[in-house]
Structure formats: structure tokens, C-alpha cells
Subunit: 193 residues, 2 copies
Amino acid sequence: MSQKLTIQKRPRNAGATREAILQSALAAFARSGYDGVGVREIAQGAGVTGVLVNRYFGSKEDLFSAAVEIAFSDDSLFTGDASQLATRLTDAVLVKTDKAAEPIDPLLLLLRSASNPRAATILRDSIASHFERPLRSALTGRNANERAAMILSFFAGLQLFRKVIGAKALTDGNRADLYASIMAAFQSMIGGG
Amino acid sequence: MSQKLTIQKRPRNAGATREAILQSALAAFARSGYDGVGVREIAQGAGVTGVLVNRYFGSKEDLFSAAVEIAFSDDSLFTGDASQLATRLTDAVLVKTDKAAEPIDPLLLLLRSASNPRAATILRDSIASHFERPLRSALTGRNANERAAMILSFFAGLQLFRKVIGAKALTDGNRADLYASIMAAFQSMIGGG
DNA sequence: GTCTATAGAAAGATAGAC
DNA sequence: GTCTATCTTTCTATAGAC
């Protein structure tokens, strides 16, 4: 009767465990920010204990680095057909992030973790290489660097007010009016030389 | 020789002490965010110990509420002459926050504290009443609510990329080009119906 | 490969002396 | 009115059993 068979242990599979931890971390950092989530909570989301997080990633900070690299690896918003850029960005702000089970949102992760100095440093470098550079390359005309940074700033600001602050005008307002206004603003920044 | 005269105690002055704590909290929350600073550190900045913070404000959360109310009490950016709104906003982004010893920056406080759920709730309410409402009143034309939220989003996003992320294009780029680009974007949002 | 148990640090909050 | 000292909780990280 003293058998410990009641304790459920995860099957031994290092690769799958590591990936599960990474996905859990991605979601947790986007939901609660670097300081707002503990290693225990991340581990629980992956069905393991906190020990394995440090075993596979070394430390919480190293885990955050790995999660950021994955979160920022998708630059499809900014590469590709430049003539559809305003539409893609507006859709990303208004439609993709509507209310459905949002996937891992890189900008939410950014916003909620940037208050930690070590996390901010990690984020700074990844933002520049993964987002600023491709967007700048997609722009034509003068001041492409400045306009790329402006477009990213606007994109991030919209998500901040929509998903973090919860500004009513951006969450409950008339959808068509909102779409037109945001689209016009993006086009002004993209087209302007 | 056992006299405790070597221990420096702050003169007894409740009002001044309370104000010193509040100013220290304002600066600390803007610098490190709600989670990034402790009651002890705030107290040290005011020359007292952590006890008095809780004595005067009840809890860290209540102190944060008091600090937010002060940080968001200045709405002069959004009230006043609407025809100069774009200039005021652009100046606020580029000039006021240049590199000099910035005063307490409300948006920096917002950005760095929004990851904490309780802080986010406090911020949400203050943003709406102190910033969204006056800006909406200053706008003419259609969709004033949506455009007001858009303008605030852009303003916040620029500060995020300039001061938190440190995007080079916004910190080291050509000043005149940057000024013109940002001004044009603001004017597009302000003027558009 | 994964667990339990715990060490060590730091946080918010409180009791009680002066 | 302000302090020192301490309680309690929570966190990251590690040691060692299985």
C-alpha cells in the first residue's frame, strides 16, 4: 500500500518537455510579463515542476531569451507585398486580436516585460533585428528609418491601448469607423516620403 | 557613550514626509514600474523607512493609486488651442523628453506598470478620465472618440519605442526629418474626419 | 528525466520601543 | 512621528532521492 504509483510522472522525453516549457513560457510572459510570472507557474503550464525549467534553460532569464527569440521570429507582417502593408497591419490590430483565443502575442509580451531592465535589454536587441530591419526594407521614399520606427510605434501603441489599457473607443467603438481611421493613419505613414 | 545620538531621525513633519514619499514613489514607479520597485526603496528615496509608507498610504497599492492621480493630473497637452495640438504633441515626444533630467513621465509610469493586473486597473480608469476625455473634446469632425484613442496610442507608442525600447531611428536619427514625419502623422490623425 | 524538499534572498506588512 | 526588529509569504535556484 505504500507504493508511490499514485504519483503521476511525465514520460521521459527531453525534447517534448523542453518544447512544452517553452510554449508555456511564451504564453505566460505574454499574459503576465517577466516579473508577473514565476518559474513554478510556467512549469505547471507544461505539466512539470520548476526544477526542469532551470535544468533545461539554466535560469529564468535564459528562458525569457529563448521565448523572445521564438515570439519575434515571425516577421511576415512586415515582409512581403508592400502595397498591402497597411491592410495587413490594420487587420493585425483589429481582427487578429479580436477576442478569440489569441495566440502568443509578441507585442503583448514586450509591453508586459519591458519594465524589467534585464528583460528590456533582451527585447531591445530582438526588436531591432526582427522588426525594425525588415519593415525599413519594405518602405520606399525618404526617411525610411524614421517612418519604420513610427509605424512600429503606432502599431505597438494601438495594442497597448486596446489590449492592456482597454480603451473603450478601441474595443467597443464602431468597427467600420475604427478600421477606416486606423487604415488611413497607417497609409499616411507608409506612403509619406 | 551609549547614547543613540548618532542615529539621524527625520524631523517630525507629517505633511512634508508624506509629500516626500509621494514624490519618491512617482519617480520610482516611472523608473522601474510597479513590480520593479519595493516599498523599502521608495522610502529610502524619501529619507525614511518603509514603515512610514504603509503608515501614510496603507499599502503599496494605495500608494500607487495616489501617485497615478498626481502623474495624470496635468492634461495641458490635450486641452487648449486645438490648432496647435499636433505641435504640442510632437514637441512633447521629441523635445520635452530629449535627454535632460526628465521630470516624472506619466506615460513611462504607465508603460512600466501596466503588466501588473492591479496596477493596470488603476491606470485604466485614470487614463480614461484624465487623457481620453479632454482629447476627445478637443477634436472636431467624425469619429472623435476613435481618433482620440488613436492619437493617444501613437503618442504612447512613440514614447515606448523612444524611451523604453530605445529604437535608434527615434533617438539618433535626423532631428528635422523625425520632427516633420511625426508632425505629419499627428496632423493626419487630428485633421481626418 | 523527473521528482520532493529545502536553502537563501527579498518582498509587504506589523508590533512595539522611544 | 519615526524607528528597529521581525513575521509571513513568495520567489529563484539547488541538492539529492528514485
